[in-house]
């Protein structure tokens, strides 16, 4: 099987995997990076949302071969050591998580949004499609606004 080399959360890794193996399974099953979650496998629920070169992507539909030479950041790589990212801090402040399963993806989507626009409108927040089956959407909205105000 071919090898693919890329960085995950600042650490260079090499994965021995079929080219079309979805990156989600390279991360979870081969590298033990379990922050990104399986929720649908078809880029619908967005629970696996992570970043490639700083932009949101969904590893469940991205072949591992596409990661070659790129920088991947998962939820585990968002904080700077013990110092949480302002979006993570806002999530704690608003006590967003219920079951928590979708929250890594929600947070990564929110960070990507705040990189695109510093003060997102309600309409821009509405564009985040990540499913939260516990229905925490309003707290997510409040957390994004709170993080935007502080960043």
């Amino acid at each position: 099987m071919p090898n693919y080399t890329f960085t995950v959360n600042g650490r260079e890794v090499t994965v021995d995997a079929p080219a079309d193996l979805p990156a989600l399974w390279a991360l979870r099953d081969k590298l033990g990076v379990t922050g990104p979650k399986y929720g649908c496998g078809i880029d619908v629920c967005k629970a696996c949302t992570s970043h490639i070169d700083g932009k949101a992507f969904n590893p469940c539909v991205t072949p591992v071969a596409d990661l070659e030479g790129h920088d991947v950041t998962t939820i585990e790589g968002l904080a700077d050591g013990d110092n949480l990212h302002p979006v993570q801090e806002a999530w704690l402040e608003q006590d967003v998580a219920q079951c928590g399963y979708c929250q890594p993806g929600q947070i990564m989507a929110a960070v990507a949004l705040l990189r695109r626009t510093k003060n997102p409108t309600d309409a821009e927040i509405d564009e985040i499609e990540n499913v939260c089956r516990c229905g925490t959407y309003f707290r997510i909205r409040e957390a994004i606004k709170s993080a935007a105000a502080k960043m």
Binding site: M1, A17, P18, L21, P22, L24, W25, A26, R28, D29, K30, G32, T34, G35, P36, K37, Y38, G39, C40, G41, I42, V44, C45, A47, T74, I75, E76, L78, A79, L84, Q88, W91, L92, D95, V96, A97, Q98, C99, G100, Y101, C102, Q103, P104, D122, D126, E127, I128, E129, N130, V131, C132, R133, C134, G135, T136, Y137, F138, R139, I140, R141
Partner: protein
């Protein structure tokens, strides 16, 4: 809670309690009895009929007798069933580092139990909340009927026992400090995880724990705090597990690092409960990259592979000849027809003047938690370990042991916190399937269901038909008849152990269980004269189960629509009408709160409207006011929600608000767009692109939630939020569009291309 006031300390070894104090001492056993007695008594005295509503309303209620769920609800029955073992529920461990560990014999699925119960422990022990560790207990068969997470019953059932256990620990620690210092325990106080003497000396719990464990304390006095002494309970606390969740370090079942655990997936039949006849390309699939094993099991064909990606490919490549399932010919239309026929007719069947009839249909609804059905199983010749989210782990352990041919005690069921449940994890089909694959392949198995399988072969809230007939005359309601038929809800988890599970599994047993749950949960909160509510069930061999709020979402949600339509017939404002017909001031208090905070009756734009509704269940009550914008009638949006909740004694207001927010989002989904279509024995929906659970764009941008202060005992919280929100949304929709909703979800086209079977 009544009398206990100051915390009477344990006497140290050298200080027997003075005789005059002994009469006041409350031993743990008595304390528990007292609490349970208090719980029953409280429920009883809260009920009955208060005076009619004061105010200016001109409709006159006709008093109703209490219904079964008024006198004793499902939660009370679960508490009673658990009563013989409640003294065993909690063991409080004080570690030498000063931390406190208490295993929780309930399951955390996002409802915030590990936070709220840890608050109760920290309160009684005068500890900071973050000094309490609360792992989930594995299956503990000695608890019998007392390890089931459901019926909004967790806080209600552990409130007394966990405080008693923590208060006992505190008394022992004080006794130990008294002994060490040679002081009377009376004068010692506890604060910040330490015992303090008036002279300034103090000892940490960790320093005292060894002594406290070995000192004989025959005169141990245990007195839990009264709510008036609470300093932590009743304040808003954040979730204790939130940091792990936002950093991605929180471990769900499939994130656990269990030695040798190998990914497995199952190819399932094209119809529910279909069977495997023959695998036609076994060798070819076995030779696929990464594939380690293929095995036919009861529910399909299992593939074990190096990664889930490879297991998924191999599963899809399987060519299987399938046998039929038991409902292959059934589609929604047939089921709806059967439900209508099964609804017991009204007597007399003719509608008289002054009588109004209403009919409603509700679709199937998957639980669809974000984390699909998953489990890890390590089955060996002499025993097994299973890791999964299990809300009834004792019966899971019993049934898995039976299936594997192992003694029950050789099977350990580790309960893992899950990514949602909503009732789904009352069933152990995932853990059982993982155990079967592990036994068949001789490997440690990490089983994951695909999203599509989770929606199509998982469980669902049964479809239902509701018929109401209301007899109204001269500004009052004399009678309300509510006859309903549901596709049978599977209650074979019983009360969480094999005795009641077996009886629910006997012919007619499930129907009896269903009747009991229906009677213990569904009731009208209004003085509608003679109220009659009757459930019938249509047994279909498919996978159903209790879904958050079970019978109440559709029963009470639709009754709230009936209430609005009755108000209109009597030319009454919906809010004032409810005020008049509700039975108690406590009920009116939540309704008044949302009417006031939500500015009920304010003028709205065209195609926009407010809606209001009320619900009471499990000793708690709530009212919801929503604003809905239907300017796109195909895609109405709830733009604002104002919610009030009264839980008796609120433990963690922030957590209760989270539950109400979740209930609101669930209600938006199930009322407007989310359900399952059944066609020829299989749901059509295969993912969230088909099953329209709300997204951010469907969620209101303004939500205000108020938790009313209160005392007494805590009421149920997990399910309360849905029925009133459902009613309020449907009522707002009706007022905005002029259309009376009768079939739910309201917008329910097949607006997608179903995945292949």
């Amino acid at each position: 809670m009544a009398t206990p006031t100051t915390d009477r300390p344990a006497s140290g070894r050298h200080q027997a309690a003075p005789t005059r104090l002994r009469d006041q001492l409350v031993g743990r056993r008595k304390f528990l009895t007292y609490l349970v007695a208090g719980s029953t008594l409280t429920v009883a005295t809260k009920l009955g009929i208060d005076a009619f509503a004061p105010g200016e309303a001109t409709a006159f209620p006709t008093p109703s007798l209490p219904q079964p769920a008024d006198i004793q609800d499902l939660g009370d029955v679960l508490i009673l069933a658990g009563r013989p073992t409640e003294g065993l529920l909690f063991t409080v461990e004080i570690l030498e580092n000063g931390r406190v560990r208490v295993a929780l014999p309930r399951m955390e699925v996002g409802q915030g139990l590990t936070t709220a119960v840890a608050m109760l422990v920290a309160e009684e022990l005068d500890l900071p909340l973050d000094a309490v560790d609360m792992p989930l207990a594995p299956a503990r068969p000695e608890l019998m009927f007392n390890q089931l997470t459901g019926g909004s019953n967790s806080i209600r059932s552990v409130y007394g026992p966990v405080r008693a256990a923590a208060a006992a620990a505190r008394s022992r620690l004080r006794g130990a400090a008294a002994d060490r210092w040679g002081l009377p325990a009376d004068g010692l106080r506890t604060e910040g995880g330490r015992v303090h003497a008036d002279d300034g000396r103090s000892l940490g719990y960790g320093e005292l724990t060894a002594l406290a464990a070995r000192l004989p304390m025959a005169d141990l006095v245990v007195r839990a705090k009264s709510p008036s002494e609470f300093t932590l309970v009743g304040t808003s606390q954040r979730r204790v597990d939130a940091r792990e969740m936002v950093t991605g370090s929180f471990k769900y079942t499939l994130d656990l690092d269990i030695k040798g655990a190998t990914p497995a997936m199952v190819r399932r039949p094209p119809t529910i409960n279909g069977t495997v006849k023959k695998v036609n390309n076994l060798d070819k699939v076995r030779a696929m990259p990464g594939v380690l094993d293929v095995a036919v099991i009861k529910t399909g064909v299992a593939v074990v592979a190096e990664t889930f990606g490879q297991a998924l490919d191999a599963k899809d490549a399987l060519d299987v000849t399938w046998g039929p399932g038991p409902i292959d010919d059934l589609s929604d239309e047939d089921i709806r027809k059967e439900l209508r026929q099964a609804t017991i007719p009204f007597i007399p069947p003719v509608t008289l003047p002054g009588q109004h009839e209403f009919e409603f249909d509700w679709a199937f609804l998957p639980h669809a938690p974000m984390e699909t059905n998953s489990a890890v199983a390590d089955v060996r010749d002499d025993g097994a370990d299973i890791w999964a989210g299990m809300k009834s782990p004792i019966v899971a352990q019993q049934q898995i042991a039976k299936e594997l041919g192992l003694p029950q005690k050789s099977v350990t069921c580790h309960v893992v916190q899950s990514g949602g449940s909503f009732g789904r994890r009352l069933f152990w089909d995932g853990p059982l399937e993982a155990a079967r694959i592990s036994q068949a392949t001789g490997r440690v198995i990490k089983l994951m269901w695909t999203r599509t399988d989770d929606m199509r072969h998982g469980r669902a809230r049964p479809a239902a038909h509701h018929r109401y007939r209301v007899t109204a005359a001269a500004g009052t309601v004399l009678r309300m008849e509510h006859h309903t038929a549901f596709v049978e809800t599977d209650w074979t988890h019983g009360l969480g152990e094999i005795l009641t599970a077996t009886s629910a599994g006997l012919p007619g047993g499930n129907f009896g269980f269903a009747q009991t749950v229906f009677l213990l949960t569904v009731k009208s909160p209004y003085n509608f004269g003679v109220v009659e509510q009757i459930l019938n069930e249509v047994p279909l061999n498919m996978h159903t189960g209790a879904w958050r709020s079970v019978y109440s979402v559709s029963s009470r949600g639709t009754e709230e629509i009936v209430v609005d339509e009755l108000a209109a017939m009597m030319d009454q404002d919906p809010y004032e009408f409810r005020r008049s017909f509700l039975k108690s001031d406590a009920q009116r208090a939540v309704l008044d709160k949302v009417a006031e905070e939500g500015d009920w009756g304010r003028s709205m734009d065209d195609m926009c409207a407010q809606g209001i509704a009320f619900h009471e269940e499990y000793g708690s009550r709530t009212a919801v006011l929503v604003e809905l914008d239907a300017s796109d009638p195909e895609d109405p949006r709830v733009t604002k929600a104002v919610i009030a909740g009264d839980y008796g004694l609120p433990i963690n207001p922030r957590g209760l608000k989270a539950q109400l927010l979740g209930g609101l989002t669930d209600a938006i989904s199930v009322t407007l767009r989310a359900g399952l279509h059944i066609e020829k024995g299989l749901p059509l929906e295969g993912s969230y692109s088909h099953f329209h659970y709300a997204r951010q764009k469907d969620s209101p941008t303004d939500v205000q939630i108020f938790i009313l202060p209160g005392d007494g005992e805590p009421g149920g919280a997990g399910e309360l939020g849905l029925p009133a929100a459902t009613g309020a949304i449907a009522n707002a929709y009706a007022r905005a569009t002029g259309k009376k909703p009768r079939s739910f979800p309201i917008h329910f086209p097949v607006d997608f291309d179903p995945f292949p079977r």
